[in-house]
């Protein structure tokens, strides 16, 4: 953790994400207006940014800042829950496939191959089109269910390496049952790359959710997510630019922070980095006797 904080990318990423998370948590407190209230349809109809409404108002006379703050809640919650679920699924499937090998591995990985061959956005659009309105929970589950394929591949590859290491053979030689070996010796040593993928995936899922909402098949009005705010202003970009600009900026900053943190994590967990850490540990060994 300390070494992580030494990386400037990680520091920036963590600070930005902390602020975003805080905004999401405190949304009802810091939002100046009710996000779905139509304040004054006659006088506050699509007004540009002003002191009373720093990010302007939309065509329905709603305060864009309040909507953006509340949208943070939904966008972030959907992303975090979806990524947590898909990571868990991906790590479990990957580790089981890699450790068990044989038929289990072949079947699981062919399923993943098949799923990976369909573009994720297309898959999501098809499912939403077939089921109609899926709601926030449904959307989250969909994003989770379509996000674990790549992770399972990464984790499986790592498992194939770890399962040949001496401490796994050693655990087998000491009579540990397979489930115990998987949980105690394999999983803790393969989640690293999964964690990196997860951090990068948060940014990706925020973008996906925004994209779906923008296409009008994600978060439904009047609830606000970053994508649905952009959707509200999509046809008025030329005159009501603040409707698309500010949520877009929020997405950009958050995704950028996630990717910066992910990059820093990846460098940190790089095997070559681990090797150099071991070397420094070895150069100052504890005396043997």
């Amino acid at each position: 953790m300390q070494r992580l904080l030494r990386d400037p990318r990680a520091r920036v990423g963590l600070v930005v994400l902390a602020v975003v998370a805080l905004v999401a948590l405190l949304a009802p407190v810091i939002a100046p207006y009710d996000p779905s209230a139509q304040l004054d349809i006659a006088r506050l109809h699509g007004r540009p940014p002003s002191l009373a409404h720093p990010l302007g108002t939309d065509p329905y006379s709603r305060d864009v800042l309040s909507r953006l703050i509340h949208g943070t809640r939904i966008s972030l919650a959907v992303a975090l829950v979806a990524v947590t679920l898909s990571m868990t699924l991906g790590v479990v499937v990957g580790a089981v496939a890699g450790y068990a090998g044989g038929l289990v591995d072949t079947v699981l990985m062919r399923v993943v191959d098949a799923a990976l061959s369909i573009p994720r956005l297309l898959l999501l659009i098809i499912v939403v089109a077939l089921w109609g309105d899926v709601g926030v929970v449904g959307l989250t589950l969909l994003l989770a269910g379509t996000g674990w394929f790549a992770v399972s591949r990464i984790v499986r590859a790592q498992t194939l390496v770890v399962r040949e290491l001496d401490y796994v053979t050693s655990a087998r030689a000491l009579g540990a049952p397979p489930a115990r070996i998987l949980v105690r010796h394999v999983l803790p040593n393969v989640v690293g790359p999964g964690l990196v993928a997860a951090t990068l995936a948060i940014g990706n899922v925020i973008l996906l959710e925004a994209g779906l909402s923008y296409l009008g098949i994600g978060i439904r009005p009047p609830a606000a997510s970053w994508g649905s705010i952009i959707q509200d202003g999509a046809e008025r970009v030329s005159d009501l630019w603040w409707l698309t600009f500010f949520p877009g900026l929020a997405i950009l900053i958050t995704v950028f922070a996630c990717n910066a943190l992910g990059d820093a994590l990846r460098d940190l967990l790089d095997p070559r980095q681990l090797a150099s850490r071991d070397l420094t540990a070895r150069s100052a060994p504890t005396p043997d006797r």
Binding site: D166, G175, P177, R184, H185, N189
Partner: protein, 344 residues
């Protein structure tokens, strides 16, 4: 009539079914280890030593397989007839294993205390607290100073010698009857090697544990083993007591190994080597498998696969020289060396 040995391998075959053919890594190995005895297994890389060790615990993974007809008798039971659950009870409990590389034999994400305690929890059914006390006790036994504190440290915080002590402690938790040590000192400094070997010798004397010591270091064997088994190309090629082997090696391969040992005060500047390499296990040559690298080989060696000849009390050798010793008087450059010269 002597008591049956603790461990008896009878015609062990372990084959690997690879894309390039069937690798007959262990091809008919038989030997035994008595109670309290330390037996050495020596041979080059790729001769089947480690696969033999893994086979004893039935840890060979697919595409590897222990062939039917192989018997591994241990404490009166044939391990080949046990199911996986019964094998898990044997592993770590009655037979334990010490690995070559102490850096990778320990899980980097758990403290050494937790890893020793895990063995006690699996087999001893101990509570977390009892197991932790056991871990500290084991660390004390293997001579680690400040064991209370060390138990809470991670493997990367310990030196190589200390890590190997921890690995030995893990093996000894359940006081097994047999320890299989696969090159336990290869990755260590020479001074630490001596300490570790001394520790193992001392512990086995006190606890009465048998050791199967797998190594390619004949010096290690000379100091520690009562009996030595030499393996080559998946077979036992010579077996004798350590004294006999070092004084009167019979098989030319053993002679080659002994000749390749560095000696204090030796006259030659370059170490002797055995020309050529071990043939691939997918295609052992017919006849004698060492023929191409042997300075005495003659036509019979090409035709006829030598059996293990009895050449003295407790001394066997897989070499036709046992029947036709006169060929020893006509050494010639081995075929492998001749081929190497013509290729160059």
């Amino acid at each position: 009539m002597t008591a049956p040995p603790l461990l008896e391998l009878d015609d062990l075959h372990t084959f690997f079914y690879t894309d390039t053919g069937v690798a007959r890594s262990v091809d008919g190995v038989s030997f035994s280890v008595g109670a309290g005895e330390t037996v050495g297994v020596v041979g080059e890389s790729g001769c089947g030593k480690s696969v033999t060790a893994l086979s004893i615990l039935r840890l060979v993974r697919a595409p590897g397989r222990i062939e039917p007809g192989s018997a591994i008798r241990f404490e009166g039971k044939d391990l080949m007839t046990l199911d996986e659950g019964e094998m898990q009870h044997i592993r770590g409990n009655r037979i334990a294993m010490v690995f070559q590389e102490p850096m990778t034999a320990l899980n980097p994400v758990f403290t050494v205390g937790e890893q020793i305690a895990e063995v006690a929890r699996i087999h001893g059914g101990m509570s977390r607290k009892e197991a932790r006390a056991k871990a500290v006790e084991m660390l004390t036994l293997v001579g680690i100073p400040a064991p209370e504190q060390r138990a809470g440290e991670y493997p990367h915080q310990l030196s190589g010698g200390m890590r190997q002590r921890v690995v030995i402690a893990m093996a000894l938790v359940m006081n097994p009857a047999l320890i299989i040590a696969d090159e336990p000192t290869t990755a260590l400094d020479v001074t630490i090697q001596a300490q570790i070997l001394e520790l193992m010798a001392d512990l086995t004397r006190r606890l009465g544990t048998s050791i199967l010591l797998i190594t390619h270091d004949l010096g290690v064997v000379a100091e520690n083993c009562s009996r030595v088994i030499v393996m080559y190309a998946g077979e036992v090629v010579e077996e004798a007591t350590a004294v006999e082997l070092f004084g009167r090696a019979h098989m030319p391969y053993t002679e080659g190994l002994l000749g390749a040992m560095p000696r204090v005060g030796g006259e030659s500047e370059r170490l002797a080597t055995i020309p050529g390499t071990v043939p691939p296990p997918t295609a052992w040559p017919a006849g004698c498998r060492f023929r191409d690298r042997c300075p005495y080989s003659w036509d019979r060696c090409e035709r006829e696969h030598p059996p293990l000849y009895q050449i003295g009390a407790g001394h066997t050798s897989r070499c036709h020289l046992a029947e036709e010793p006169e060929h020893r008087n006509h050494p010639h450059p081995p075929l492998a060396a001749q081929r190497g010269a013509s290729a160059a």
